[in-house]
Structure formats: structure tokens, C-alpha cells
Subunit: 426 residues, 2 copies
Amino acid sequence: MATATTAQTDLVLLMRQMGQKARAAAAALVRLTPEQKNEALARMADGLRKAIPHLKEENAKDLKAGEERGLAGPKLKRLELNDRRLGEMIQALEDVQRLPDPVGEIIEMSTRPSGLRVGRMRAPIGVIAIVYESRPNVTSDASSLCLKSGNAVILRGGSEAIHSNSAITDVLRGALEGTAVPPDAIQLVPTTDREAIGAMLGLEDLVDVVIPRGGRGLIEMVLRDARMPVLKHLDGNCHVYIDEHADLEMAKRLTVNAKTQYPAVCNAAESLLVHRAVAETALPPTLSALIDAGVEIRGDETVCKMEPRAKAATMEDWDTEYLDLILSVKVVDSLDEAVGWINTHGSHHTDAIVTRDHGHAMRFLNEVDSASVFVNASTRWADGARFGLGCEIGISTDKLHARGPMGLRELTTAKWIGLGDGQEVI
Amino acid sequence: MATATTAQTDLVLLMRQMGQKARAAAAALVRLTPEQKNEALARMADGLRKAIPHLKEENAKDLKAGEERGLAGPKLKRLELNDRRLGEMIQALEDVQRLPDPVGEIIEMSTRPSGLRVGRMRAPIGVIAIVYESRPNVTSDASSLCLKSGNAVILRGGSEAIHSNSAITDVLRGALEGTAVPPDAIQLVPTTDREAIGAMLGLEDLVDVVIPRGGRGLIEMVLRDARMPVLKHLDGNCHVYIDEHADLEMAKRLTVNAKTQYPAVCNAAESLLVHRAVAETALPPTLSALIDAGVEIRGDETVCKMEPRAKAATMEDWDTEYLDLILSVKVVDSLDEAVGWINTHGSHHTDAIVTRDHGHAMRFLNEVDSASVFVNASTRWADGARFGLGCEIGISTDKLHARGPMGLRELTTAKWIGLGDGQEVI
């Protein structure tokens, strides 16, 4: 017990020191030019490129440990640093380098009647903590976005990726030596002890915002204990709704794409709704194509009658993010029912309608209360890079500040500025 | 004890019912046209106009109770509904009516390489709770802004304004009868029991955001107990910094204006910093003008030597929002010291520099970490109406989502929308 208390005190101390280093780094970052930050990003990309064999070795340790712990297919795949993933990480660093620097950007300047010029200017948030699970590419993606937007970052990855994350962070910090960016702009919490997260969440004077990405348990813990604002990245229980006025061939293609193109990620479809008027024509080919692609169907009564290979969905299925080749399928009687169902059972992440009807498309856009809403496109498009944000720090399921894919701009705050020549208020 | 528990259960039940009514009203609001909302706002303005004598009567009860409890001058003044204040409330309702409706506004639409058109669309946040103290005009200002932005609002005013707030809310809800807006779009918590706030802060499924405006104790409580995001409105410990390159006549005018034009509000100056190089020429006339205007000066050693009528400032003074005719005054050695001092002792609300030097102005804008930063203008300009936002729901001291004066736009969320014709992700 005495040991536990000492260990906790040590953790609090460690996290406070990391917070102080981050705060000092943030104060330095706010004064840098875009050129100085881009030079650092270029060196970070070079560093990763040269370290590829080493990064793969370290990643192999995590993969082996994951397999030994029985990590399932798609989840293990998220952990893997193969050539393609590493190439994407390096590419992302170079993409971020080319993106315009958001800091100092002046938006919406206008002249008020008194002659005072009033507008808003983007500024770094300060210190950002990111708590995430699994995917080690987040370590470099998040670092580059925070650096470019002038923020210091404290990273806390999952224990299953500790070797990969440590290796990536060491390479990135090493690359910062000799640049204008202090290496403490990027710090990784060196312990997998979960108490470290709790200690960090009490540092409201040193950490400006915490971004949790991971399972519901982790996010609930962060929401409960954080003394600073939280931008959460919850489940993606994403829906495709095939409207009565859908192009059924397109509906089939988009459903298969949304479900199977990369099932382990949060913007993959987890549930299919079909309007009753087209259920008999739309469902058989769509379900066959899904089953051919290896998808398990969990349907309501109508669906199970129509497709003998479908299993009966339980109440739990409608609220589940499978992250796997499983899809729940339900027949609805109206657009109203579809919208109400999505707003109740969905996770306000990403949902799509397939329809030719303009009025239905507009109602779906207006009334579905989700971060990303699509008409006639795959839910898989909900992605920072695909939206043109360079790369993303995550997909926020919050409504405030940042909703949906978060890029550079979402890592800044906008302060009001007023330029006068002596204006008093009368 | 049994009674207390019953009372608490009743409060939880009451607040949950209010939350459910608000959620239902929000679902109706999202479908309304701008015309329907403007018609409701027009009737609300008419309602207030006809109720002026009644509102004054009810306000007199609050003023009498306030005086009896010994409420001080400027604080009592915040509570008063005189003809000018009532006129401003009605004017604000009419101003909000004329502002463009933010809901459905599509921003930043672009076409991605696949042909998918991607952009963002403003949507209501949903249900907004506002917890505030003193000023009863907030009741109608907040109601109009929430309604126009398609949100249902739950208001919890201070006990000192309960008669005024109840009267205003009754008039506004009455005005909604027979319009397309359900009266439950505007609800006032009918009890001054502080436990009601705690009960409300647990309703994360029914309330999307809570906006506290008031003393530090209230805001700390909200931050600790709220399960939903908080947009806080903390103190304004605002600074005026007279740079070594200042126009000293302008510096005097702006300091007097920032301190005395309306000392009871959060954007009034509470502290003056002066560069040592101009202290001897700038301070005597400035301090004399302030003292002539009834301001008590609390200075550092240099200031007290220069002006015998000044009292010595304590450490506490530098961190204090007086909301009264008191000003702390300090001499600094450099712009760096001024910026560091403001970022440490200020409240990140509103700060101003008086200078002719462009480089110093730009450094102050970039490095002062406050919601509003002014060059050569009074801190009193930090105000939604003066910034052209119509009227404001408050001045956020948060960095995320909304910083500084919050108007209509800050009461919306921006969802991503994607308009396709069958785009899959490959």
C-alpha cells in the first residue's frame, strides 16, 4: 500500500514535469515562423525514412505480443507498421509541411462604425494531450499536426503499441535536435500504467485540452476525471440508408464499399437500413454481394425471411460498432423512421443516404445529427485526408469546437483582435 | 434527512422533465424556417414592450431585496431594469431577428478529386443550459440567440433576480403561444435551490452544453459536476499596457475609458501596466485623471512614490477583478515582462496595448493569450454587439469552440456534409 502510494506520487510528479516541459515548449513554439516549423517537419520525415528497418523491428515486438494475447484479425491489422503504413506516415509529414500554417491567419476582419477594425486571428491552443489505443501511425500524425499548429503534444498510446510508439517518438524527437523546435514539443508518456492518465487529467493548468481516442471505457474515464476540456472520439456506429428512391445498383456498391473496404475503422458501416418499398428488390443482390465478400448479416425478421443465411439481430446489435465483417440490417417504413432510428441508435459519427430524391437528401442532411452526413457516397469518405485536411488527428464525435475529422485548423483557437487608433467606448 | 432526500429526488425529476421538454422542442426547432423563427422573435419583442410596467414592478422587488441584503453600488446597478436597459433588450430581440439565420449555412464547400463535393453545414447544437448571475437582460438576450440558432434553452438565473427573470420568461413563453416555436424552447428553472444546478449537470443525454456565467465558485462547481461540455465565462482581469512607444494622451484617454465607462462589467480594465521609460511622463496625468473620476489606485512601489494618493497594492490585487472603481497599477521594464505578467496574472479575457510601434503591436497580438486583444483601443470594445454579432450570449474565457464574445454562430455546430453520385473509397 505504501509502495502504491509512492508509485502514484511519482507518477503525479512525472506527469507534472512533462506538463511543465510541454508548457515551456509551447511558449517557444508560438514565436516560430512557418519556415522553422516546416524545416523540423522535413527532418522528422527524413528521420522516419531512415529508421524504417528499426521501426519494423520494434513493431514486430508489439505484433508478437498482440498475437500471443490473442488479438483478433482486424485489430491486429491496425497495429501493423508495414511498408505501406510507414510510407503513409512519411507522406503525411510531407503533406502537413505543405499545408498553409494556420497560426496568425486573420479571419473575418471588418471595420466597425467607430473605425475600429475587428477580426479573429488563429493561435495555437497550447498544450494538447492525446490518449489513444492501437494504431501507432497516430503517434507521428498527431505530432506533425500539433507541431505545425504551434502546439506542444503529450502522447499516451496503448500498451499494445508501446514499442512502436516509443521508437517513433525517439526518432521524431531526435530529428528536432538542432532545429528551432524544442524536442519537448513532442513527448510520449513512458509508462503503460493507467494511473498516469489519471495524473495527467488533473493538470488543468498545464494541459489545455485532452483528446481521447479509443474504447468507451477509456473515454468514460477521461470524461469523468478530466479537469480540462475534452474532445472525444467515440465509436462509429455508422449507417447506410437505402431510400425508396435509391439507385439500387449504386446502393449495393456503396453498402459493400462502406462495410468491406476497411472494416476495422470507425467510419466503416455497421448497420444498413432499407426502405420497405424497395426491400424486396434491393436486399437480395446487396446481401448476396456482402455475404460473397465474407460479411455476416444480422437482420430483423423481414431480412431473415428474405435471406436464409442471415442471423437474427438482437437488440444489442443495433447499438454495436463491430469493427469487423458483420453488418446489422433492418427494414424501415419511412425516411422519418430512418432518421429517428439513426439519431437514437447511431453514434452521431457518420451516416449516408442513397437516394435520387432531392427533398429526401436535404432532409437527411438537415435532420441526421451526425458529424458527417453523406448523400450517395460511402461512409468511408469521412476522413481528414480525403476531406483535404492533410491528415487528421482523429474524428471528433463532439459537437463543440471540432466535429468530424479534425485537421490543423481544429488544433487552433481563434482570438478576437481589435486594431484601433484611440477608440473609446461611449 | 428523509425530506432532503425526497426534495433532491423531486429536483432530479423536475430537471429531467425540463430536459425532456427541451429535447422535444429542439427536435421541432430544427425543422423551422427562418421566417417562422423571426415571427416568434417579433412577438417576443412586442410582448416585452407591452409588459414594461409589469417588468419594472417585478424588478423593483428584486432591487428592494438586493438593497436589504446590502448589495453594493455597481452590483445593484447590474440588476436594474430601467427604461434604457429594457429598451436595449427589445432592441436586441429586433436585432437578432434581422441577423442572418446561421442554421443550414453551408461553409467551405469544395470538390474533391473523386468528384465528391465536401463541405460543412451549420446546425443547431440542440439543448443549451445557461447558468448565470445578476443581470436579468441575459434572460431575454440568451433566449433570442438560442431560438434563432435553433436551440432549446434552459435558463437558471441567480436568486437575486428571480422575480425579474420569471416575469421576462413568462412574457417570452406567452409570446410563443400560437407561433411555430413551442414555448418549451425557453424554460426557466423555477427554483433558486442550488441543488437544481447539480441535477441539471447530470443530464448529459438531454443537455448538449452548459454555459456558466458568474462567480468563480459557481463556475468551479459546474466544471466539477458537468457531464456535458462546458463553455465557461470566467472573470475579466483585463489589462491596459502603456508601451514605451505609446501616444501618452491616447493612453490616458483609453485607460480612463477602460476603467470608468462601466466598471461593473467583465471587460472593464482592472490593471494598468506602464513601461518604465515613460512612467514619469505617462503616469502623473493618467493617475490624476483616474482619481478625478473617482478611481482608487493600488500601485507598486514606484507608483506609490509618484502618486501619494495611491495605496500600496498587495499580491492579491494583481489577480483581482474589482468590478468597481479600483485599479491596480504597475511599472514594467519591457514588453516581454508585460506579456509574461498578463499571461500569468490576467484571466485570458481582454487586454490592450497602447503603442505606436508596429512590431510591438504585432508581438502583443500574437503572444498575449487572451480571448480579445486590442491595439490602441479600450478593453470595453470586447462585446458581442460592438463586434457586430447582434447580441452576445456571453464572453467565453475558454479556448475551444468559442473564445471571447459569443453570438449566433457560436451557438451552432458545423457538421461535415458530402454530396456524391456514387463515390466509393478505393
